[in-house]
Amino acid sequence: MRLALTAAALILSSLPALAQTAYVSNEKDNTISVIDIKTLAVVKTVKVGRRPRGILLSPDGSKLYICASDSDAIQVMDTATLAITHNLPSGEDPEQFALAPDGRHLFVANENDATVTIIDTQTRQVAGQVDVGIEPEGMAVSPDGKLAVNTSETTNMVHWMDAVHLTLIDSTPVAPRPRYAIFERDGKRLWVTSEVGGVLQVLDVASHRVFDTIHFEIPGVPRDKINPVGIRLTRDGKLVFVALGPANHVAVVDAHTLKVIKYLLVGRRVWQMAFTPDLSLLLTTNGVSGDVSVIDVARLEVIKSIPVGRYPWGVAVRP
């Protein structure tokens, strides 16, 4: 029983971070910073493969998957021991990925290769590849597991894939340099940021059409220096958090009115974000300032910044 093994491993582990733990990939340091959510401090820094970017946890929290882009590998870390147990065959230059709801199939964007590689994490084999546009980047799988999407940065499209048969269904042009995509929990809407277009777009999943485009305005920041990247949705579907890159702010958007409620000042060049499992905190990675900002979600306030490594990129939080 995996759960029992994990529990045993956790008990045996000598690490202090038995409570909620955040993992942050440091792109230029080739490390993962481990943060204890209780103390909001780095408790350990672990060496991993070259240029770690996208990271995510297995549903049970026992494994951390790491896109080691320049090692052309996805590394699997045992979160109990913080040791890399094995690599998965990722295809060239993996940058972002998404785990299917079955917890088994990883959809990986291969940035240099114009492909999406699907990996079976149990057999550790490539289950399929789909050709997409140039510089595939954002990846998401629909909550029902039937649909996968990829954004291509240079082709400027959202590519819709059949996640079961691993075929391309359709492509939708979106604003320039789409970086990140995320489905709503009910699977009806897809949210996509365009870094160079400077917008957040909302797509209707049934028709594949863009039905709204949200612009951002921050006093004193030129509009073309607002470069949205990561997106996070609250579980109740009410709020959307958007990392605005070099504008050094996170925008909070009302998911129903599609209006920006607030801009939160965080560290420099904010990339990606992750909620703590209880949804009380949102952690952001700030590439240029080399730190993680901690947002109190209820109060919509930044309460702390935690220094990590150089160019923190991805973040994931384990219960």
Binding site: I134, E135, E153, M157, P176, N227
Partner: protein
């Protein structure tokens, strides 16, 4: 929303009688659009510096080839395909006749690397009126002013843009007293004029001007010419105007005073640079290197921008109708992503592509202009080069 069937058929009919004499044959698709390359080999090319040998023989064209390949990567999701036809003219060749031939064959988009006078004459040919020519080879400001034409767009930055970008950086550093050393060619003189204009525009001062008159190769007989020439009072920086690369590389580390060197050599300004990797430029550099087996130059990049402008407009329009594409490219809403962190568009008053300019030495991009603090009521990109109010261009 898929393109309407009718639009696809009309575009296919329009494209059907064009000659697909492409270097890289493209499989037939719903609608094909040909982009042509028209280059002219220089009569007496300057000998490349030893470190730059061999000189590329496909400069510019290689950038367009990559653009067409990028266009097709998007196009295959839109049932659009793009072809490339390339023509190199001998020195003094008849560019107007070549343009007439291309226009008669149905080509509506041409990326050109032609000397300014040749380009101006060819673009004025009545047969060229329906063709959009992307100037990817001539930095001459006269093409953006007195000799401007509605059918010519400039993806290569003008000398004014390059000089303004460099001036902003030097002024930001408070290196505002310049010693200008100018070579003998018309291009050198034009670059020097742009430098003088930029100094006045941004508040720098030319504290001395020298002409480089040595004709022999002093690389092997360095006897202090540079030191002697730069022994002339005090200055913050030596600015060299040497477009052919005759002497500019001899100046750094050999000046009378310990001062930096900038201009056409030393710290340079350019739309592209081999050391540039930000904003996913590393991806473009690697794609280019994989295809051309050399580093991408500023001319390659300018040609790539021209080819990509056509593909980007076609994708957004979901149509390969050349008239619609030509109109869309010129609209203020056109937004070309070009690895600079912001989208680019063409200036309505002279057809120049407004774009950030890199400030770089051989191994690093030091800064990207426009620099912070240089303000403009519309876009800070228009602080570089000829702004609307000072343009002498009357488009026809």
């Amino acid at each position: 929303m898929r393109p309407t069937r009718l639009a696809v058929i009309v575009a296919a009919l329009l494209a059907a009688w064009t000659a697909p004499a492409s270097a890289d044959p493209i499989p037939a698709a719903a609608s094909e659009l040909t982009i042509a390359w028209l280059g002219m080999r220089p009569a007496d090319p300057p000998e490349p510096a030893f470190i730059d040998r061999p000189a590329p023989t496909d400069e510019g064209l290689a950038g367009l080839r990559l653009a067409v390949s990028d266009d097709n990567a998007s196009g295959r999701f839109m049932h659009q395909s793009f072809g490339l036809e390339a023509e190199w003219l001998p020195p003094g060749g008849d560019a107007a006749a070549a343009l007439r031939r291309l226009a008669a064959a149905g080509v509506r988009f041409v990326v050109a690397d032609l000397p300014a006078a040749v380009l101006a004459k060819a673009a004025a040919d009545p047969a060229a009126a329906a063709v959009t020519i992307f100037n990817a080879g001539a930095p001459d400001d006269v093409l953006r002013n007195r000799d401007c034409r509605a059918n010519v767009l400039h993806t290569l930055p003008s000398r004014a843009m390059l000089a303004d970008a460099l001036a902003q950086y030097l002024v930001k550093k408070t290196w505002t007293r310049w010693l200008l050393v100018t070579g003998p060619t018309a291009g050198d003189q034009a670059y020097a004029a742009a430098i003088r204009h930029a100094a006045a525009k941004f508040g720098a001062r030319l504290v001395g001007e020298k002409s480089w008159t040595y004709t022999r190769d002093s690389r092997h007989t360095a006897t202090g010419e540079v030191a002697a020439l730069t022994q002339d009072g005090d200055y913050d920086v030596v600015v060299v105007a040497d477009e052919a690369g005759d002497f500019g590389d001899l100046v750094p580390y050999d000046t009378w005073l310990p001062r930096p060197v900038a201009g056409t050599q030393g710290l340079v300004s350019a739309a592209w640079h081999p050391a540039y990797s930000a904003w996913a430029a590393a991806q473009l550099q690697e794609r280019f290197r994989g295809q051309a087996h050399r580093a991408m130059t500023a001319k390659d990049y300018a040609a790539w921008e021209g080819g990509r402008a056509v593909g980007e407009a076609a994708m957004r329009l979901r149509s390969t109708d050349p008239v619609s594409i030509a109109r869309a490219i010129r609209s203020d809403d056109f937004a070309l992503p070009a690895y600079k962190g912001r989208t680019l568009s063409f200036r309505s008053w002279d057809g120049q592509l407004r774009q950030p300019i890199l400030i770089a030495w051989a191994r690093n991009v030091v800064s990207v202009a426009p620099e912070d603090g240089f303000l403009h009521p519309v876009t800070d990109l228009d602080t570089l080069g000829t702004d609307k109010g000072e343009s002498k261009c009357v488009l026809h």
